[in-house]
């Protein structure tokens, strides 16, 4: 009963991790392309990452 929930949470965490990784890599590419927009990109990146992180935590605490 416990194990499927843990596995599910693990899957969600993997997904969230990949998502945040994608955001980070895209943000870095964007910064490399437009260094003058670094501030805006960082803000947007943090917000997006924070939202995904929220899902990850929700999954962890739902177990």
């Amino acid at each position: 009963m416990e194990i499927p929930a843990i596995v599910g949470a693990g899957l969600i965490v993997i997904g969230a991790g990949m998502g945040i990784g994608k955001i980070g890599s895209s943000a870095m590419e964007a910064i490399a392309r437009q260094p003058e927009a670094t501030g805006k990109i960082q803000t947007a990146m943090l917000i997006a990452a924070a939202l995904i992180e929220g899902i990850g935590f929700a999954a962890l605490f739902a177990v």
């Binding site: 803000t43 943090l46 924070a50 939202l51 992180e53 929220g54 929700a58 605490f61």
Partner: protein, 391 residues
């Protein structure tokens, strides 16, 4: 800035001896009141393991140490009714604890106020205005004169809990930290008058942060027109969360933001401010999304409404989980130092703990920043003036 970081690092590492050995005699098991029934074999309760550990002190050394570390981590994360500063082993071989009791305030058919020292760390049943209370695993339960505690089959305590408004360690530290913040900023504000519009002392360090919150968080997210209304909340929440997180890294062993009640309070304030300052466009976007066909509007309304609750919920969970996870990891690695108990392993875990402490310093500021940033973002959506055609 650098000096502050060094100061905190030093305090963090002064913490090592006390953090591991501190306060693990909260419940002297071998002298426990005989009427309290225990399920000795229960393994889910770390505190139980800790209790077991004391029972079997000499027999299995390593198990004992691991259990003690586990219990310590759990204890570190918990709130408590007295303020424990440090422990030491005296010349007589006994452990002495240095700290002070805090007032317990219960509402249970009347107001009950007494000092937490009356519990004697759970050994004694406290009688107050005809009611009996006992401290069990750091929680106060209502009991009878003998201090009976009843369990169900899952080892959950069945005794009722009184409504508890005690000044616990966390409440005490909240008061202390808020006083520090208040005095700091009040002095900073008056230094502007004295020095002709320029801050002195710590104000020189704090002013750029205030300006950062104004120029990089509030104005871009909320807009020039409305940001002034939210500045007080944003600044207060940022400095409160930051200072509280930093205090969590000191040897005082307080971690206020890893209480869900505290982060819930902050999140609900963000939610309430968003809701009560929102303009009609905000509500229109939630209940009758412009620019989509009518059936979609019906479908979107509950989703959008749910979204308004999920936003503060994620704020609450994020702060709580980040700080809790950070503390657990840091404490575990500090514990590893004593599990290895050799030069290589212990040095490695010391270095790891050092690096992690620096990371935690970053996380302390980052979480405060993200909380403030997202709050500002939500306020921004609440006061944004949309035109119906876009979106």
């Amino acid at each position: 800035m650098l000096r502050t970081i060094y100061a905190f690092l030093i305090t963090v590492f002064l913490n090592i001896p006390t953090a591991i050995f501190a306060d693990n005699h909260q419940e002297p098991a071998h002298q426990k009141d005989s009427t309290i029934t225990h399920n000795e074999a229960h393994e889910h309760e770390a505190a139980e393991a800790h209790h077991d550990a004391h029972g079997a002190h000499a027999e299995h050394g390593e198990l004992d140490l691991k259990a003690r570390i586990k219990a310590d981590i759990k204890h570190h994360l918990q709130d408590s009714y007295d303020f424990h500063l440090f422990s030491y082993t005296g010349s007589d071989g006994k452990e002495h604890h240095v700290g002070f009791p805090l007032p317990v305030i219960l509402i249970d058919g009347g107001l009950h106020i007494f000092m937490s020292s009356a519990f004697r760390h759970g050994e004694k049943v406290v009688e107050s205005k005809g009611n009996y209370y006992i401290l069990h695993h750091n929680k106060i339960y209502k009991t009878d004169a003998k201090g009976t505690i009843e369990y169900d089959e899952h080892h959950h305590v069945l005794n009722p809990k009184p409504l508890d408004f005690s000044i616990t360690k966390n409440v005490f530290m909240i008061i202390v930290i808020m006083s520090i913040i208040f005095i700091m900023f009040k002095n900073m504000a008056s230094s502007y008058q004295k020095n002709g519009g320029l801050p002195t002392g710590i104000g020189r360090f704090l002013e750029p942060i205030i300006l950062f919150i104004r120029d990089d968080i509030a104005i871009p997210n909320i807009g020039e027109k409305h940001y002034k209304r939210y500045m007080s909340y944003l600044l207060t929440v940022f400095f409160f969360v930051w200072v509280v997180n930093l205090f969590g890294l000191t040897p005082l062993g307080v971690n206020i933001t890893n209480n869900i009640a505290v982060t819930f309070c902050l999140a609900i304030l963000t939610y309430l401010i968003t809701t009560f300052t929102a303009n009609k466009y905000y509500w229109k976007h939630i209940f009758w999304m412009p620019g989509v066909p009518a059936p979609m509007k019906v479908v979107l309304a509950p989703i959008e409404l749910l979204g308004t609750f999920i936003k503060p919920f994620s704020l609450m969970i994020r702060l709580y989980a980040n700080i809790t996870a950070g503390h657990i990891v840091l404490m575990s690695i500090l514990g590893l130092m004593f599990v290895f108990a050799n030069w290589i392993g212990s040095s490695l875990s010391f270095i790891l703990a050092f690096v992690l402490s620096i990371l935690e310093l970053l996380v302390a500021a980052l979480q405060a920043y993200i909380f403030t940033m997202l709050s500002a973002l939500y306020f921004g959506t609440a006061v944004e003036e949309h035109h119906d055609d876009h979106h």
